[in-house]
Symmetry: C2
Subunit: 322 residues, 2 copies
């Protein structure tokens, strides 16, 4: 079902919606973040929260009821905590929308509506999950409160996939250089701001820690100057994800500091790929995470090749019960 029709259908039954919850784990939680950030920034009345699934399940907010929409997310649709959270939200009377790659999954069966996204086809397909969730948030805001930049958002949704494919086609040389220079680093830090904050988080906990067994930490670059920057010395590796939009000033301040003290800085800058010439400035902030995630995927793939450590290699996942 089209995203707009899902929300229209919910509104027919539930004319008052107070809260919108986003619920997932790991990369799927991080991919919900741009939508939560968008609603938090632009809604005047709608409440919104993002929970890791087990926290939603064990410490369920009292506001989860028939006045809520709960959006749950899992790539394979089998993450047990997320399936359980989705089921619990339904039991409490919330309208539940599941986002998954697997239309026949347990998650899909424990939701009122299902959005099935691509994954394998190309880099753009891997960003359908994050983009569709943002689209749902925009529909909710538009239909329940009104949103003056709705048309710009729809225009962005239509154009971002093309820009992603065009961008990733250019990054192989810089990705190879990154992999060569970082393959033996004892620790790599990742930071960003705005809607891209959890892209930094996901690259740190999933691509580096989970898929490469490399040490890593991540934080908001507005927080950098209130703690983490004391770790900076010559050659300490930082990846800075730079946004086109309102928080660029924060990213830029962090970049200046990293350069000043000769940190080993890798910059992924949305402006280098022309994000602002494709996406309208009224909504550009919310499309940085899709573009930057796709570019980072190429970096991770090259790192995996040079380290002889496939991105699919695990110590525990798929191997044990835990």
């Amino acid at each position: 079902m089209e995203l707009s029709k899902i929300i229209t259908s919910i509104k027919k039954e539930h004319q008052e919606i107070i809260s919108v919850f986003f619920v997932g784990c790991g990369a799927s939680k991080a991919e919900l973040y741009p939508a939560k950030y968008f609603l938090e920034a632009n809604a005047k009345k709608l409440r919104t929260s993002l929970y890791t699934s087990n926290e939603f399940l064990y410490a369920t907010p009292v506001s989860v009821d028939e006045s809520s929409i709960v959006i749950t997310c899992s790539l394979g649709g089998s993450t047990p905590e997320t399936v359980a959270a989705s089921k619990k939200a339904m039991e409490l009377g919330a309208k539940v929308i599941a986002i998954t790659h697997n239309a026949n999954s347990a998650l899909a069966k424990n939701a009122h509506y299902v959005v099935v996204h691509g994954f394998e086809a190309n880099y753009a397909a891997k960003l359908e999950k994050m983009t569709n969730v943002l689209g749902l948030a925009a529909e909710i805001l538009y239909q329940y409160e009104g949103y003056e930049h709705y048309e710009d958002m729809m225009d962005g949704m239509a154009k971002i996939y093309g820009l992603i494919e065009k961008s990733v086609a250019t990054v192989l040389p810089s990705a190879k250089a990154f992999a060569e220079s970082h393959k033996d680093e004892p620790v790599i830090y990742v930071m960003s701001s705005g809607a891209t904050q959890e892209v930094a988080y996901a690259f740190s906990i999933c691509l580096l820690m989970e898929m490469q067994w490399m040490n890593s930490g991540s934080f908001h670059d507005g927080e950098f100057f209130h703690g983490p920057f004391e770790i900076v010395e010559k050659d300490v590796p930082f990846i800075l994800l730079m946004n086109d939009g309102k928080t660029r000033e924060l990213d830029s301040r962090a970049l200046t500091f990293l350069h000043r003290f000769n940190a080993k800085t890798t910059l992924i800058d949305a402006k280098d790929f022309g994000l602002g010439s494709v996406i309208k400035s009224s909504v550009v902030d919310y499309f940085n995470p899709m573009l930057i995630t796709a570019v980072l995927r190429v970096y991770a793939e090259q790192l995996a090749i040079l380290r002889d450590h496939p991105l699919t290699k695990r110590r525990y996942m798929w191997k044990l019960e835990y």
Copy 2:
């Protein structure tokens, strides 16, 4: 002014409050988290968000207006981003409450109400900031929506300081052992759940990275199994902050995994200090962060001693403009 009177005074002028924003940087941002977590879990209508100050300033949510309360926080009251954010919130018509140790600071001058907290006297005094912010959140909920466990919360506010002092008096031996065994670690991970999530974050970015120049990362222990746990091997150091309350199950699952694979695990468990016998179970979740922060402070002090690296030593802060 008493916390309850501040909210009563705001309510006289602004009978409808839609949003409550918490704004700060670094440790002061983390100390706002329990209050934000409490409101998010218990409010049915009030919106709530936590922002690092510069993000609030540069990407100000559209909902900041006369229907908002903004709570800003800075220990010394001079953090420029937080002062600017506080000022902007006032300009937009919000009611602003500043929490600071310095009654004459720039932050105190750019707020409608000021809560001055202790710091030097003892460990309990260092937790007045976090506890007062939680108290404000409870008052807001009670006066604007009603809160059935308000009396239990007030009872907890009265008792937590005594428990903190009693607890820290017992932890020196374990803090010394921690310092001895961790002083040369190349990286230390910290995790927790629930209201304590950002205690893990603050210990990681402030105590370890900022004050000890040690590498570190932190994450929610509900997220541990969706990425970070692949870094676990024998002797990899993890600090697990274990809650008494609804999310204990999540902490416990992480602990089982760490023990199973012989990670170098440091456990700070609120139950070991009898939190649940002092604080009513209806509100116990929200007092874990105060108790655990105080205990961790002793750990950090012992680490600083054994590493000959005072907690006040900096490379950049207080030394440069940045």
